[in-house]
């Protein structure tokens, strides 16, 4: 047992941090330009392919390294789209039986960011009965994305990809962070058979939720880091406000929550197969930690934190919306509690 990353693992993580930090600066929320080029660059570095088997051109890294990379993406507030593109889409595409088709789909995903057109709040990814052109709340969707759907076709399931569709997201300019009600219009549609059953969809959803949890750890840790820097620099009463114990203690609690949550995500990645309760525990800790860190971030930035100009609101909104994806915290808590009550 060694609950620490070794030097080789640390080198991989540092590589991911460098690449993601360079290509996905948080400033991107302010420029209306697309991050398409950045996405292809990240893919070229291989980070989007951590979960993909080597025979399909992926890195085939263990789950614990996948969460470590997702955490680095989370520091750049790349949370929802990472869960979709690094976890859900590769997993669904892995279920495309024909080798050439599968590799073609995986390959397009490297240059074109994708998003899933369905209500992301359910715990398990759903198969739609018909191709509805809207979803009440999609996650990690931006104009220009490929739009994916999972649709029933007779007894089979097909994965549908819509290219160059017009995507309208509500709310858009007010609150947009890529989460909201989505309508799509036009575009070219391609489909491939996708052999996933209910159990497989549940497994895929859990993995994606764990990847998203890891992103939330990165978000929380970056919120902590930035807030610590801010309270060291900001002066009131002639001293840095970080000297005041009332503020220190809030940040200490944020630090503790982040530490515990990251350990919990690592534990779920390493032992989730043998311990069914590990996933729920990590979900609860990760979401709580990210919400706590981003709320504290706003509070300690004072009035500045409530302005559009400060980056604080991107952290807060990403965390708040993420908490609703893959099933609410309440749902996870009660399911976990039920499993424990039955077991005892």
């Amino acid at each position: 047992m060694d609950f620490r990353f070794d030097e080789g693992e640390q080198a991989v993580i540092a590589g991911a941090a460098g690449s993601l930090g360079h290509h996905l600066p948080i400033d991107r929320f302010r420029s209306s330009g697309t991050t398409e080029g950045a996405w292809a660059a990240i893919a070229a570095d291989g980070w989007l392919d951590a979960a993909i088997p080597s025979e399909d051109g992926g890195l085939e890294l263990p789950e614990v390294m996948q969460v470590a990379i997702a955490r680095e993406a989370g520091r750049q507030l790349c949370v929802e789209e990472w869960a979709t593109n690094a976890s859900i889409l590769p997993a669904l595409m892995a279920a495309i039986p024909d080798d050439a088709t599968r590799r073609e789909w995986l390959s397009r995903r490297r240059s074109h960011r994708g998003a899933l057109l369905q209500d992301g709040r359910s715990m398990v990814i759903e198969v739609a009965d018909a191709t509805v052109p809207a979803a009440p709340m999609a996650f990690g969707m931006m104009p220009g994305d490929d739009v994916y759907r999972l649709v029933r076709s007779g007894d089979a399931t097909v994965l549908v990809r819509l290219e160059d569709a017009r995507i309208s997201l509500t709310p858009t300019s007010d609150l947009a962070i890529g989460v909201g009600r989505v309508e799509v219009d036009g575009g070219r549609s391609v489909e491939a058979p996708c052999r996933v059953g209910a159990a497989e969809l549940e497994r895929i959803s859990r993995h994606a939720a764990l990847i998203q949890s890891a992103g939330l750890i990165g978000l929380g840790e970056e919120a902590e880091r930035r807030t610590v820097e801010y309270v060291k620099a900001r002066k009131q009463f002639g001293v840095p406000i970080g000297q005041f114990q009332a503020l220190k203690h809030i940040l200490a609690d944020v630090h503790v929550a982040n530490e515990v949550a990251w350990n919990s995500v690592l534990h779920a990645a390493l032992k989730g197969d043998q311990e069914p309760t590990a996933f729920g525990a990590s979900r609860i800790q990760a979401v709580e930690a990210a919400l706590g860190a981003s709320r504290a971030m706003l509070q300690l930035h004072g009035g500045f934190g409530f302005t559009w100009e400060a980056d604080v609101h991107y952290f807060l909104k990403t965390a708040a919306c993420a908490a609703a994806r893959f099933g609410s915290l309440d749902r996870h808590a009660i399911e976990l509690g039920r499993a424990l009550a039955i077991a005892s």
């Binding site: 060694d2 609950f3 203690h249 200490a252 919990s264 005892s344």
Partner: protein, 377 residues
């Protein structure tokens, strides 16, 4: 990074589990009385498990922190709280401190007796005017010939009435600079001039005392680490203190949570039960956080790495997580009209956990200053 036990670690867990099953009688499992806990210590000592991590030269087995965590976790699982072992002050505080600061003669005199449960130690640090501010101790010891004369009083001294020895932090230079005016004295409790008065706690128990020293003579060879070097010695002790028995806390609290889960499982369906189920889920997530921190500390320790501030994170986490578990247990017990005494007593007991060993507020100060680098006020 991995959480897989090596064949040696897995074998050790098997060995420990088998031994615990055979050696620990039922009446010691979950027992809180001092005599019962002492009896468990003797059984552990006979098996060589009492101070398993001590170096071999001092009679230990040089067990790794991971093995220690396994031993603690398995003990906790059957209701033996290593965190409450009467020998803990000797095995985990004084012993490691003496290995760093003690003379060869002191090591020969004291360490074997700790290992064989012949001496039970208590800790004389806190005073009425020196709680979180340890440097403020007023108990004084004046050098007089080949000894010192010790006068003053210590407070919150756990197991003072049961202990045969006390390690006392006393002021030996009234004019010396802060941190260069203290000494650590090793004081036999059974002698004239020492009066340990038990304090009745909110649970009705008498777990700690106020200890009075009235002109007690202490030979110079009983000064640990040299006269006026007590601050450095005490810092070694404090550094050794906080993560002790962590895995046994995990095992113990997980068992308590299962007890609460059983009450909830047997309760009538309805909205209140659903509320409890959700809280059961979140408190379970909290208790597994203790386990993960124990793994991390053990991994760092085994690799010989520093753990800057992680013991403070850990203390904050286990103490609050335990209080949340017991909060839930008490509410469920009261509502279901079952097991109330158990949970009420535990609820009172666990209030102390965010106070002793460095209060929650002190831990937050340590984290914010030493880990986050925020300026001192």
């Amino acid at each position: 990074v991995n959480l897989d036990e090596t064949p040696e670690e897995a074998g050790f867990r098997q060995e420990v589990r088998r031994w615990l099953d055979e050696a620990i009688p039922d009446e010691l499992r979950g027992a809180t009385a001092f005599e019962h806990r002492l009896q468990a210590d003797r059984l552990f000592a006979a098996q060589g498990y009492l101070a398993y991590a001590w170096p071999k030269e001092y009679g230990g087995s040089a067990g790794t922190p991971i093995q220690q965590a396994i031993l603690d976790e398995e003990s906790g699982r059957i209701g033996i709280a290593r965190s409450r072992s009467p020998s803990r002050l000797g095995t985990n505080l004084l012993g490691p401190t003496m290995m760093v600061h003690g003379t060869d003669d002191q090591k020969r005199r004291f360490l074997p007796r700790i290992l064989q449960v012949q001496d039970i130690w208590c800790q004389g640090f806190s005073e009425p005017e020196a709680g979180s501010d340890l440097a403020g101790v007023r108990t004084t010891a004046v050098v007089d010939g080949d000894g010192l004369r010790l006068s003053g009083s210590k407070l919150w001294t756990s197991q003072a009435t049961n202990a045969s020895w006390c390690f006392v932090l006393a002021r030996t230079d009234p004019d010396g600079p802060r941190h260069r005016n203290l000494s650590m004295l090793l004081v036999p409790m059974d002698q004239p001039g020492i009066d340990a008065r038990p304090l009745k706690q909110i649970t009705g128990d008498t777990g700690f005392s106020q200890v009075f020293f009235d002109d007690v003579r202490v030979p110079l060879e009983n000064v640990l680490g040299g006269v006026n070097n007590g601050w450095a010695v005490a810092m070694t002790t404090v550094g050794a203190e906080r993560s002790y028995g962590l895995s046994s806390r995990y095992g113990l609290y997980a068992e308590q949570l299962r007890r609460a889960a059983a009450l909830i499982g047997a309760a009538d369906d309805g909205p209140i039960r659903d509320l409890w189920l959700a809280e059961l889920g979140t408190t379970y997530a909290d208790v597994t956080g203790i386990r993960d921190l124990a793994y991390k500390l053990a991994s760092l320790g085994t690799a010989g790495k520093e753990e800057t501030g992680l013991t403070s994170v850990t203390h904050l986490w286990w103490s609050h997580a335990h209080q949340r578990i017991v909060d839930l247990g008490l509410r469920v017990a009261m509502e279901t009209r079952r097991d109330e005494d158990y949970w009420y007593r535990l609820w009172l007991e666990c209030r102390a956990e965010t106070v002793y060993g460095g209060s929650a507020q002190i831990q937050r100060n340590i984290i914010s200053e030493r880990v986050l680098g925020l300026p001192r006020g």
